[in-house]
């Protein structure tokens, strides 16, 4: 997208995420042409929307739609009809497993799950992965409250006879999971920016010892450290979009999660007492980022896996060229 076009798109998306959630937000995104942008300029469409979602603490069906589009199912399904079963918490492998004539599903659904008629289930096969489009009624769903009830996740389970489903299509689950990881990284970065802005505003307003606490170096350095963490995560994410290989996507996700944990720690310390209450919005972002960090691969596990692969092979992954 050209710079002016992007700015317009960004302000439209930001306004939508700040004023609508859930189904209403999906409709607003349809009106903005987000689905077209997803086809025309995926990096921009995804990074702009998910960063806004993170900053606005909003939910939508966009992750399902991104995964469906990457799996090649986007075009055939209406925007309100696509649900994609995500892997269980901490995992990033495909959520389905073939067992004879049956497919056993164990995973998570996003907030938009119940609004859909059709679920896409990707199952691991001996030579890759296959996608089944099935009736949502074949799966059982248990809404999850947990740490972040507002995220609206549900546990999804079930098994279906593969003969009932339409002919399965071979798909690249790794590529889809990678795109999902990049989207979640943007959402983490957006939530990090929101936390920093909350802490910054508090530091400038809160007066102790006759001056705003923003004047104290101990406070300033925590906020500076938070900005460095956010900008580093954002830079790694931008670079990963230029070459969205599985290893680059996993690195971006793990690093965004780790950076956001550090931002949350610094910002909660700066906000101190008020940031520990539900009267202040900080806790919403802390809850959200902790869950996002564990979706589509837990950050700590992705980092350990990266390190284990490096130590095992004695070589580094390919570096970004200049």
């Amino acid at each position: 997208m050209e710079r002016a076009e992007r700015a317009l798109f960004e302000s439209g998306v930001r306004h939508a995420t700040e004023t609508a959630v859930g189904a209403a937000l999906d409709t607003a995104l349809d009106d903005l042409g987000w689905a077209d942008a997803l086809e025309a300029d995926r990096a921009t469409a995804v990074s702009v929307l998910f960063e806004c979602l993170g900053t606005a603490h909003a939910t939508s069906g966009a992750l399902d739609r991104l995964l469906a589009a990457t799996l090649g199912a986007g075009a055939g399904l209406a925007s309100d009809g696509v649900a994609v079963v995500l892997p269980p918490l901490r995992h990033c492998e495909a959520p389905g497993r073939l067992d004879g004539d049956w497919c056993v599903v164990e995973g998570l659904g996003t907030a938009g799950f119940d609004r859909c008629a059709t679920a896409l289930v990707v199952a691991q096969t001996p030579d890759g992965a296959a996608m089944f489009a099935i009736d949502l009624g074949l799966l059982t769903r248990r809404p999850v409250q947990g740490l972040d009830p507002a995220l609206g996740l549900s546990e999804v389970m079930g098994e279906f006879e593969t003969a009932w489903a339409a002919e399965p299509e071979p798909v690249d689950w790794g590529a889809a999971a990678g795109q999902g990881q990049l989207a979640l990284s943007s959402e983490l970065v957006g939530a990090g920016r929101a936390m920093l802005e909350l802490a910054r505003a508090h530091a400038l307003e809160r007066v102790q010892f006759d001056r705003p606490i923003a004047g104290f170096q101990a406070v300033r350095h925590r906020l500076a450290e938070s900005l460095v963490a956010i900008e580093a995560a954002a830079a790694l994410l931008d670079a990963a979009w230029e070459d969205p290989s599985p290893v680059n996507a996993a690195m971006a996700k793990a690093f965004a999660g780790r950076s956001t944990r550090s931002v949350a720690r610094h910002c909660q310390q700066v906000l101190a007492g008020i940031g520990f209450t539900t009267e202040h919005p900080l806790h919403l972002f802390i809850r959200r980022t902790m869950v996002l960090d564990q979706l589509l691969g837990a950050g700590s596990a992705l980092t350990r896996q990266l390190g284990a692969d490096i130590v095992g092979s004695g070589t580094l992954p390919p570096a970004f060229p200049l």
Binding site: A203, R220, A239, L306
Partner: protein, 376 residues
């Protein structure tokens, strides 16, 4: 020339001339050996035209994007042909001369620097002036058409090798702070200059004290305007945090790659390796974005302090792994390669101190990027 064409031309040329360019010593070498190597590599790459790419024609360059300079430094450090710290000094000093020296002086001097004929140093810090640069007190007073300098500098890298010095002096009253500073371009063989190298923990004598005792500098050697030297310092510091840091990223990646290939089984913690790699990759991504902004003609400013915090953090993370994975070499080894690992490990401890400490970078970020107001 486009980056892609330049990249393959540089790579081919470096392969072709590998023997001429190779280090004559193994491991770290002495500082004298390192300097001789630096001069040789700069001379050869200048004569081949590569060192002139990315610099303006009015100072002997061949034009083109600053990305070409970033790549040349990457290629040379990745092949261990130069030490990135000393190689990258022109990235800081040449832009200053191009922007602020009288045109004839810049046209005369900059080619000498790029060709490796001369080494220049940067006289900023003083014994009483570390983080608070605006408090410097090395004095320059008018003497006819010339300036007479009295005072002392410290942490002046490579002053004992240098033919010239970009020197910040006090020309206003001490209270004038950043409003009374003047930058001068000083010949290091002027009468009255004494250089005393300082031996650092990592075993080199790279940093020096420089004493000025009634040193006369011609009036036409003022850079920019009298009493406006602070602007030069502020313009120069972002350069110190752009192309030079890309070169450093290449060096860190090289060392991390060597480490994971060499470390004995069981010495490296996978989580620590994963974290250091992510951090280094994030720093590279950030620095690449900075190179692109510079190449697009944007003016760099306080946002480069983010790059500086990241390089220091990444460098120390990489060398913490070196201490774990190559502990025997770092602690006990007396061969030249072990000595290099040890020296570089020790030098990495200074990454959060030199070039504006980690605390100063965070102050800049708080003040200029987060707009938190004054800190007192």
């Amino acid at each position: 020339m486009e980056l892609k064409a330049f990249t393959s031309a540089v790579d081919d040329w470096l392969d072709e001339h590998a023997r001429e360019l190779a280090c004559s010593f193994e491991g770290i070498g002495t500082l004298d050996e390192q300097m001789a190597q630096l001069r040789k590599v700069m001379r050869l790459t200048y004569d081949a035209g590569f060192m002139r790419m990315g610099w303006p024609e009015r100072v002997g360059g061949l034009g083109g994007s600053s990305l070409l300079r970033a790549y040349l430094g990457e290629a040379l450090t990745t092949r261990d042909l130069v030490e990135p710290g000393i190689y990258s000094m022109p990235e800081v000093l040449a832009p200053t001369m191009i922007d602020y020296a009288p045109a004839e002086l810049a046209a005369d001097m900059v080619p000498r620097l790029l060709r490796g004929d001369e080494i220049w140093c940067q006289g900023f810090s003083e014994p009483g002036t570390g983080s608070n640069l605006a408090s410097l007190s090395c004095r320059a007073t008018r003497d006819g058409d010339a300036w007479r300098i009295n005072g002392q500098k410290v942490w002046t890298s490579l002053a004992q090798y240098a033919q010239r010095c970009v020197l910040l002096t006090r020309t206003g009253t001490q209270e004038s702070a950043h409003k009374g500073i003047t930058a001068l371009f000083v010949d290091m063989d002027s009468a009255g200059i004494t250089v005393r190298p300082i031996e650092t923990m990592h075993g080199a004598r790279e940093f020096c004290e420089v004493f000025f005792d009634n040193v006369l500098v011609p009036g036409e050697r003022v850079l920019g305007e009298v009493d406006h030297g602070w602007a030069i310092a502020m313009d120069l510091l972002p350069y110190e945090r752009s192309t030079a840091l890309w070169h450093r990223a290449s060096y860190l990646q090289r060392r991390l790659a060597q480490l994971v290939a060499l470390a004995p089984a069981g010495t490296l913690d996978p989580t620590a390796v994963g974290e250091a790699t992510e951090l280094l990759w994030a720093f590279r991504a950030r620095s690449r974005a900075t190179q692109r902004r510079l190449a697009a003609g944007e003016t760099l400013g306080a946002e480069t302090s983010v790059d500086k915090v990241l390089v220091a953090t990444a460098e120390q993370a990489v060398f913490d792994l070196v201490a774990a994975g190559l502990g025997a070499e770092v602690v006990l080894g007396d061969d030249p390669v072990s000595q290099r690992w040890r020296a570089e490990y020790l030098y990495s401890r200074a990454a959060s101190i030199y070039g504006g400490s980690a605390e100063i970078q965070r102050n800049i970020i708080a003040r200029r990027l987060l707009d938190l107001g004054a800190d007192r």
